[in-house]
Amino acid sequence: MKLESKVPEGPLAEKWTKHKFNLKLVNPANKRKYEVIVVGTGLAGASAAASLGELGYNVKAFCFQDSPRRAHSIAAQGGINAAKNYQNDGDSVYRLFYDTIKGGDYRAREANVYRLAEVSVNIIDQCVAQGVPFAREYGGLLANRSFGGAQVSRTFYARGQTGQQLLLGAYSALNRQIANGKVKMYSRTEMLDVVVVDGKARGIITRDLVTGKIESHSAHAVLLCTGGYGNVFYLSTNAKGSNVTAAWRAHKKGALFGNPCFTQIHPTCIPVSGDHQSKLTLMSESLRNDGRVWVPKVAHKGLKAKEAKSITETDRDYFLERKYPSFGNLVPRDVASRNAKMMCDEGRGVGATGLAVFLDFADAIKRDGKDTIAAKYGNLFDMYKQITGDDPYEMPMMIFPAVHYTMGGLWVDYNLMTTVPGLYSLGEANFSDHGANRLGASALMQGLADGYFVIPYTIGDYLANIGWNDKVGTDHPVFKEAINAVNSSVSKLLSIKGKKTVDEFHRELGLTMWEYCGMSRNAEGLKTAKKKIQELKNEFWQNVNILGSASELNMELEKAGRVADFIELGELMVDDALNRAESCGGHFREESQTPDGEALRKDDEFTYASAWQYQGENQAEVLHKEELRFENVKLTQRSYK
């Protein structure tokens, strides 16, 4: 198989404009003859479904939650980047492009990233027109802040809930199309398979989570906007329901999976408090603007936050300030995370588990006063206190890294199409724009760019080319086969009646992934992980216990299907991490580091995106490589010293 990125010719800044002109258009009167399926209703899915409905296509949208508004985009806190240069501080489309490519450690496609930066300005306009209440200055214009160490203030935000406000904007546009009859919404409905006939995606198989009914839906094209797979680690900042099932089942039907091992681990999360822990909560990275990260110079087993004061200044190690004097506490996410882990590995971690470091605001409070700090971080401090019972005004916070975002995902070309014609992937579900590491405030940007401003153009070309007659009905034998296959895998799960719960398997998988394929990876550990995951897979299919029936709401059954897919994905992540014997972005291979312990990229060998092809049950997947060509930026090693 040859991977064709379909990146248009021409100078970087003109590619998208030219491409849009060259794409075929669907005659307005014919749009209503086409049907499009959108799976997932987060920023990417809701914006795509709404925009396609507005254009006149007939859209069916699906989400497993009870309402499209609950998709996990809702939980994004920080903000959304856009190259508006409202602050006159030197920002531009090119600078946002450059920062994103560099931040991704040169493992993303130049043309895609440039387009992302280019349409970022339209996103803000669109959201404001919908009534999204962004933060404003006293003069009534939009406020910006610098985020995640960026040199310019290009981040738009809505208190600590930018994700919710943007999603409610997209949801309102979606609602308008639902009311117009252009979008039919299926909530509490999970996609369990993609149907491919004659090499093209023709529809999906779903399960109504309330009645258990398995149904087929046909369409001219299918869009998977189903988010990331961070929950493969069991503990992550993702919502409990976030899963890889739609993407994974598409992968098994022929869509290549890109860069699966690229995961982002966020440094400032609330540490695990015990075995009961069900998810991790992110504390906004803006806290690092004023908080100082430290551990004691010598190990103090079980040191509590309220005892932190007993460690004198000279006995503290402000390790980020010490090792990275120019960036200090504001080093990028991956560097901050890895260093916190190193301290804990040395035994200098704090808290009951020893898996935490302090984030201390005492100096900031002394310098700026409690009121100023409260105005900046009050809601975060309250949230921290609510969860941990400790008051950050009185004692340092305890933080530890947690899985937050997955840069990998379904491989897509410049048009966002996967390797299956007619099957697209948008937002976090695809692999496209963030390379090996995502910059803060760029996830929301990508989701909305894909949904509002890319897919409405690129899908038209495909639809115009195939023509509205080229559609397969749900009475086609392949749909029938797919329904039978889904039904039998559901009954198989229910028939096992073993001894372990789904969560027990999920936790075990998570521990393996975190241990061997987390913040730092090495060949030996990855091989161990592969073996463990294969054993876990065998055990799962013999020993999982799911009660209840398939013909009603059965949340254990839902989870079981998702965990089964996570197990298989976990193995592919390990394969990918093993193959990539370099350190880049969020992927740190211990074998590839500089003499002073920093990540070492190997551009000669690894300037490519990996794309894995499924070969069948328990078969090794085949790796394809998309060479990345950099015509506009020069590859440099990141340095934050």
């Binding site: 309402s67 609950r70 404001v128 209440p133 962004f134 208190r159 994700g163 609602n175 408090s273 069900s278």
Partner: protein, 256 residues
Amino acid sequence: MKITLKVWRQQNANSKGQFKTYVADHVSSDMSFLEMLDVLNTSLIKKGEEPIHFDHDCREGICGMCSLYINGHPHGPQQTTTCQLHMRTFKDGETITVEPWRAKAFPVIKDLVVDRTAFDRIQQAGGYVTVNTGGVPDANEIPIPKKIADEAFDAAACIGCGACVAACKNASAMLFVSAKVSQLALLPQGHAERKERVEKMVAQMDAEGFGACTNTRACEAECPKAISVTNIARMNREYFSAMFSSYEVKVGGGGE
């Protein structure tokens, strides 16, 4: 900690439900309320009993999916979401009663899970600004005084959980609907459609079977996002002025 739980169990929408009593041993005060239920569920599965079904997703207080009526309060004793409620709020040996949201417009699906799609339909009726993707003005061409923007934001903070309905003895949805109406009534982007919007959303709210508002303010007291009842007053003003002006239009315009 040891906690006794009286939990509403109901197999499906058509069956009759009942309370069942469970004892949760070894509850840690650091657990969230939902984690306590997770642990209980694991032990139920081990015993061959179907786990208690409840809605949840983000577990960080923003998606609005978690619910639960705990000891007579939606989302429990604190003004937060159930997923953010921690067991340290309760005492060792306490008995806790857990029920689903109770409202005609929120029918029970199973155990503690209810159907809140009525909220979606209310928003579909008019909770948007009519703009298509593209073709909008530059964002800074619409200056909005900070005070107005902040007020709109306060209304926009609603997470659509439905606690206001569960808290109200009339099962009224006024707090939710008024928050949605207020956000767009305050912002200039929403002005063109403000009359039709409030009329349609209120009509849908009534059609869904939510009760009337009798100003008991229980909703405001229980709302996890501190949505204020001043939104209800604002919506009432919007509604009456819309009704009045549509009447004028009809009279003045003659028949069409």
